[in-house]
Amino acid sequence: MKRSTPIRRLLLAAAVYHCAAGISVHSAALTQPPAKGGASPAPVYETQVRPILKAHCTHCHGEEPKLGGGVDLRLRHFMDGETKDGSRILHPGSPGDSELIRVIREGEMPKKGKKLTPEELATLESWVKSGALVSEKEPDSLPPGPYITDEDRKFWAYQAAVKQVPPRFENSPSLSPIDAFVRAKLEEHGLGFAQEARRAVLLRRLSLDLTGLPPSPEEISAFEADKDPAAYSKQVERLLASPAYGERWARHWLDVAGYSDTNGYADADSLRAHAWRYRDYVIRALNADKPWNRFIQEQLAGDELAGVSHGKVGDAVHDKSKFDALAATAFLRLAPDGTGDAVADANLARNQNIADTVRVVSTSLLGLTVACAQCHDHRYDPITQVDYFRLRAIFDPALDWRKWRTPAQRFVSLYTQADRDKAAEIEKQAVAIEAEAKSMDRKFLDELFEKKILEIPEGERDAYRAARATEKAKRSPEQEALIKKYPSALSLFGLNLYDPKADKLVQEKRAEATKLRATKPAEGMLTVTTEVSGDIPKSELHHRGDHDQLREAVTPGELAVLGGPEIQKPDPSLQTSGRRLAYAQWLTSGRHPLVARVLMNRVWMHHFGRGIVNSPADFGRLGELPSHLELLDYLAVRFVESGWSLKAMHREMVLSQTYRQSSINNASTAQDPENVWYGRFKIRRLDAETVRDSMLEVAGLLKKDMFGVPVTAARTTEGRIVAGVEVLNANGDVVKVDTSAPAVNRRSIYLQLRRKMPMTVLDTFDLPVMDPNCESRPISTVAPQALFLMNDDFVVQTGRALAERVRKELPGDARAQVRRAWILTQGRPPAAAEEDRFLVMLSEQTESLRDYSAKHPGPKDAPPSDPQRDAFGSLCQALLASNRFIHTE
């Protein structure tokens, strides 16, 4: 085997598996060869010692304006001095005489935070003993605050991706670049690729992966029969072109963007009724393969791209060429936002929303956890608090916490002038009808009164008439007394009690108004992030992250360690600050070290079940190191070169041999159970939406209409949350949930996502909580999932629907029905023995259920029981619950 791999990369990656979480020591071997004679090498200052000091000491000793004890530990040569008490900070060669070591040994330091581990202390001691040397020249002096060293900048994630040449294998020169990178690593670990998966398995995998739906039996047999060498790539193209592709891959992006149909934060968790327009935008963008540089720019700064400021947005939403860019900016308004609800501290709620928005942006695009730098400098990554507030300042003109706009104040009406006129006209008519109803009511009551007054003694009639005609507040005590004396004669209200027939006429009239109002054109709203022209707030550092402790002013900018140009208005004619646009352009310039890598890592993770960096939202020092750095860089560079086409990258990934492997490879399972080296396609459970959608699809229930208002979530009396409409009684309690509308069977992406009311079927299978977003979903295996698949009404009914579907398709042929249900759910026909056994079970099950219904006759008006269907349904339910069905392999 001959191949070329840059040595630095090799060494770096070789270190991956020797580092637990925490401070990495990956490049130690590069700067200092092991000492002779087997003694352990002296610790390297830059890579081993300084990170310990940074984690435990320099926060007080150097980074804060006030220097703890007058000691600055940011640079080695700063340690040549003495403490305030005159002790030598450092005595090279003699740890026992070094104050630095003594205070740690004796537990005096660190005063705050956790103590050093014995290993960390030993590293320091050994370094001092070996002479306390540095490997690289240090600057003579430093400005106050944290300092980013060259060593920091050398960390792989902060260096731009380098175009990688794939390794070459003489015996298989046509290996695709992805496969070459993967194969090299596999061979390093004594592993190889698995066989190619069977076609039926492969198509199911591909279809679930690209569209979130299983293939039909006809699609499988067509693929199996296709002799064309391009058979597989034809399937790839078909699925990428399917509208279901956008519905599936939008879901992945909505996770990291933190999409929800409610506002969150406050207890109320109020509805975010118009959020779906952003969801639809994402689906459209993915289906159209909108280049991701554009996609990102629109979401961060669509308003600025369209040249729209707050004052002009009302008109701009009607401009078709600008609509998508404006709809995209709801991305910046997805974080939990309690500012429209009752909250204890409004300023806190605003600042929390901004912090969450920064978190969404940074985890989704930068793959860094910057959140801790909100309160203090990051202890592990070279991200300072100033960095954090510079990043935040990019968004300040749009999200100004002092001049805040609540969610409702971000809405822009989609009413046209014609709509507006029409609505006003209808309202006018409705008001007139209501007035008419009111006068009818009065007229009936007056007529009544003329009869009732005759029941009063004649002498009091005039006085009573006068009392009735007087407004209640202006009546004299005598008048009140008189009315009390003959209460039922009053006839001023409650027509329904006196004359239900007349009242019905009034109510009918009123209903006309309601009905008429319903014909108003629906008023759509679009959430748009905008800036008020010329309104650029001052951005300050918030001491300890507290908005009441403002410190120095900061200018907008990228995290210092990532470099990047100054944030300047890209176009002087812009009415807005241009900050977000400039930032978005930098992020998508192709030169940013993280964006393309983070995106490609996530896409890879969805296809292969595991990220190359297995902490997809943390590429920093506390994250995991990439298992295949060269591959990741190759993909990142390719992505940019492809014009940021996601579909191009899907194609390259799913066409690879790596992707097409079987899920069975005993050597890989044994040596690499987590499949770090991709020696098989690791079998994995479907995610929540795919479990539900696949069940509905094979049962023939799935409604495939796209886009629009979400299907509401409703809480049943048993505590399930299901798709449906709550039917309330007069007290506002739910008496039942109406699930009769076909829309309840729409794809999961169209179900209402309420932060505090997750749909049970999705929640059971690890639907993430959007707080504020979700970077990667866990996959759990717990007994409640088993109970759900065994007993939940959704699965029971879906099993029944599957039974009905095959009975209808193949009437009268029980064997054919069984085979059909089997192919639909298991991807293959049953073996003869399986089929026979199924039929025996079916007749036994039918018998049991027949017995039951004989003993438990239902109410007379209930539909007749159908034991045969229910029995078949229960066995179909088991097919749906089976591991083969709810996993992809």
Partner: protein, 482 residues
């Protein structure tokens, strides 16, 4: 991790019916020897994970644990840690530096506890008048007044106390217990979480997450209202034979599939989850059904009183679960209901009134049944509160801000020393100063009670041996142990 089920007997296995033939029929099916035999060993010798009972390296006294977790941060100077200095300087400026979390409403005025303390039990442990029932069992509890996590805010504090560190994604203590010791019953989950009727704590599933441990070790949520565990039962017509037939079919499907994929743990785990689910159908209902408990027990827990009924029921349920072999039970509050930034004078007595009697009853009841010695009962939250006022806008609005630098919690049973007060905060109650117990020291100590060395009990992941205390320099606080 080896499992040898023949060595472990269930402590109290209660065979009880009363749920109709269907449930029993299913149970007997699942109790079938073939199913209870050790799971099929993966052909490749890779590790597979289960909740079969395990033996600790040096078995300790503790066999089970009940954590009464009080999310929000109960105020130690009003409940457990009397500070005369606060009363003396009430309303005056606090002389030192205070570490605030909520600076917006911060005040530096000293806030003397409005409540008095009483010397309780033989030991003379000083406890607040808000905890009259706890006072009665003072000699059974170990009161730690020097807890410290030092991380700010609720999520991080909760994570530190529950997972060993203030970062998201790590396994909770209960998950470690389930992983390390399994469950003494295979009919109930190893790790059960009992939710408050008004809802979950703020951070929801993070209270019972398995983190990066296998998902088998996640806590099972039990709601306070029926259906306690959603979907415990099939539709009526399927109870019994029809469901067992359905399950038999499913088992054959899954068995064939798993055989094609030797060594894939996820498939094994899912098959196991059905076994557990089937058994849970019977056993969970039996365990959650309090109707067979005698009058005096219900009364002891305050179940006859609307104020204490909910918490009483859940404490009693916790006892019943532990009695049946569940390893770890966590009883939760809703939201962060101990987070008294304001109106503490009204709200703190309310929270105490709900929980004091049932918590004390749990100790008495366990003791009377001979279970206290082997069951650790823990009462505490993720932090404590500050000695100064928050929200200085009138007495009825007064509160206290967060404090993770010094707070109190108590623990009973399982080898802890009764009647002991351990550790001290400074004279104001702000920071732990003597015999400090960091969250990781606490974890190391509890693991020790169960027979584990915290630095050794680990999970291999990405080439590293990850532990609960994670190299933070934890120590077993042996002074706490009898």
């Amino acid at each position: 991790m080896n499992s040898n089920s023949s060595l472990c007997s269930r402590r109290h296995f209660l065979h009880s019916g009363g749920f109709g033939l269907g449930g029993l029929a299913l149970a007997s099916l699942l109790r079938d020897d073939r199913l209870l035999a050790a799971p099929v060993k993966p052909l490749l010798g890779a590790e597979s994970f289960d909740v079969k009972p395990k033996i600790a390296p040096s078995p300790g006294r503790a066999r089970a644990m009940i954590s009464l977790f009080m999310m929000g941060g109960p105020s130690q100077m009003d409940l457990f840690d009397p500070k005369p200095m606060l009363a003396k300087y009430h309303g005056e400026k606090f002389p030192g530096e205070v570490i605030y979390d909520n600076v917006a409403q911060a005040s530096s005025k000293v806030f003397g506890s409005p409540w008095t303390f009483k010397k309780s039990g033989q030991s003379g442990m000083e406890l607040s008048e808000l905890l009259p029932n706890l006072q009665q069992v003072a000699d059974e509890i170990t009161l730690i007044r020097s807890m410290r996590s030092g991380v700010s805010n609720h999520l991080q504090g909760m994570l530190a106390m529950q997972t060993g560190k203030g970062t998201v994604g790590r396994p909770t203590f209960g998950a470690w217990m389930a992983y390390a010791l399994g469950s003494e019953t295979q009919d109930l989950p190893a790790y059960v979480v009992l939710a408050h009727p008004s809802g979950l704590p703020t951070f929801q599933h993070q209270h019972w997450t398995n983190g990066w441990l296998p998902s088998t070790y996640q806590g099972t949520l039990v709601q306070a209202k029926a259906p306690y565990i959603l979907n415990l039962d099939p539709p009526a017509a399927f109870l019994g034979k029809p469901q067992s037939r359905q399950m038999e079919f499913l088992k054959s499907l899954n068995g064939g599939h798993a055989a094609e994929h030797p060594g894939e743990h996820d498939l094994q785990a899912r098959i196991a989850s059905y076994e557990l689910a089937g058994k849970m159908q019977v056993a969970a209902k039996e365990a959650l059904d309090l109707s067979g408990e005698p009058e005096h027990v219900l009364k002891l827990y305050g179940i006859d009183n609307p104020l204490t009924a909910d918490y009483g029921r859940r404490c009693l349920t916790a006892r019943r679960l532990v009695e049946r072999g569940v390893r770890y039970v966590q009883v939760l509050n809703n939201g962060q209901s101990w987070d008294h930034h304001g109106s503490i004078i009204k709200s703190l007595p309310e929270r105490c009134a709900e929980t004091d009697r049932p918590s004390a009853a749990l100790i008495l009841d366990l003791k009377q049944r001979g279970l206290l010695d082997s069951t650790v009962v823990h009462w505490g939250g993720e932090m404590g509160r500050l000695p100064v006022l928050q929200n200085d806008a009138g007495r009825d609005k007064w509160g206290r801000d967060h404090n993770t630098h010094g707070f109190s919690q108590w623990v009973a049973g399982g080898g802890f020393k009764g009647g002991l007060v351990f550790g001290e905060t400074d004279e104001w109650g702000h920071k732990a100063v003597k015999d400090i117990v960091n969250h990781y020291d606490w974890h190391a100590t509890v693991l020790h009670c169960f027979g584990f060395d915290h630095s050794k009990l680990g999970f291999i992941r990405n080439g590293g041996n990850l532990t609960l205390t994670d190299g933070q320099g934890a120590r077993v606080v042996s002074e706490l142990l009898a």
